[in-house]
Symmetry: C2
Subunit: 202 residues, 2 copies
């Protein structure tokens, strides 16, 4: 048995970055044996970039509007991720669909977290969708990323109860707490070699 290679992460963000913060905190405390090598946002000035810098992690903004198409944008992402020598790519609230340009550059090594129990409520505003549908149990899902919207193979899920008095803010907060735990838990399993890159040739 050889030890798995070090888990060198590139984290893609678009906004608040609370899942990024959970990862940074777990790395800082030693709970997660990994290094965040770079954080890339497609939007300028978002809190996620500040969180990265505060943790001493290189933070880069690559605005997607500056590219003629998704493929060109993804090639810029790949160039930055390769420069930072990351081994896995983590989507933490990254609001862009990925093309084969990046999917093929990190085959089976790109994961995302979604605030619902997929396949229920894919896409935007999953917590709002769940609340409006009236489910009594929702949750969060970590999955491998493919070309679809939240359609990749599921790695792990956690259930979250919808309480009778929940409004969007209270439910979202409860889901976020579950996300932070689940995301770090999955990354620990990847770092330990217990979760391996997804292969369609299984």
């Amino acid at each position: 048995m050889t030890a798995p290679p070090p888990l060198d992460l590139g984290v893609l963000v678009s906004g608040t970055g609370s899942n990024l913060q959970a990862i940074l905190d777990a790395v800082a405390t030693g709970a997660l044996s990994a290094r965040v090598k770079i954080v890339i946002s497609n939007r300028p000035g978002v809190p996620a970039l500040e969180r990265a810098r505060a943790a001493g992690v290189p933070a880069l903004c690559i605005p997607h509007q500056g590219f003629p198409n998704r493929e060109a944008f993804d090639r810029a992402l790949v160039a930055a991720l390769r420069e930072a020598e990351v081994s896995w790519v983590v989507l933490a609230g990254f609001m862009r669909l990925l093309t084969p340009e990046i999917l093929d550059a990190y085959p089976g090594r790109i994961i995302n977290i979604h605030p619902a129990l997929l396949p229920s409520f894919p896409g935007l505003e999953a917590a709002r969708q769940a609340l409006e549908y009236g489910v009594k149990i929702t949750g969060c899902t970590v999955h491998f990323v493919d070309r679809g919207v939240d359609s990749g193979k599921i790695i792990a899920q956690r259930a979250v109860a919808v309480e009778p008095r929940d409004v969007l803010a209270t439910l979202s907060a409860r889901i976020h707490r579950a996300e932070h735990e689940l995301f770090v838990s999955v990354l620990r399993d990847i770092a330990a070699g217990q979760i391996t890159p997804f292969s369609t040739e299984a």
Copy 2:
């Protein structure tokens, strides 16, 4: 406050009747304050009918093939349910879609149990669907019945973990146990007046 009227149940079945058995057992032990007034199957010779007779409950088979259309079949169901003086109708593995003939006869008083966390995996073979999709959490749902396939307003849900070694039989057994508990729990709440008939005029 007036006490809620007695919970007089008509149970519609198509097969094994394990959820029916859970209800009959809960009534027999006094855990559920209700009376099963009649059990109706659309298929002859199914175990569910035997379970009813063994519990001393009138058991009736109304084969759907004998009717020119769904509406005529549903009118026969309504006639039998009215004759038995039931106040709520429970679908326990009943494999027929309902028409307004019965929906309007028991408005907001027909419930179903489905072996998945709706809106994931509606329709047939929900446990198999969940296993093949690869979810890590599935469960069961009790919902009001409308004209759609498992599309009515959700009353209660329970999560069930999918274990790494699960095959269809082991997962189905775990979901069934959760179903039995959830179904009886919901019926207790209905008997206590804590769940009231669903109204679209809320």
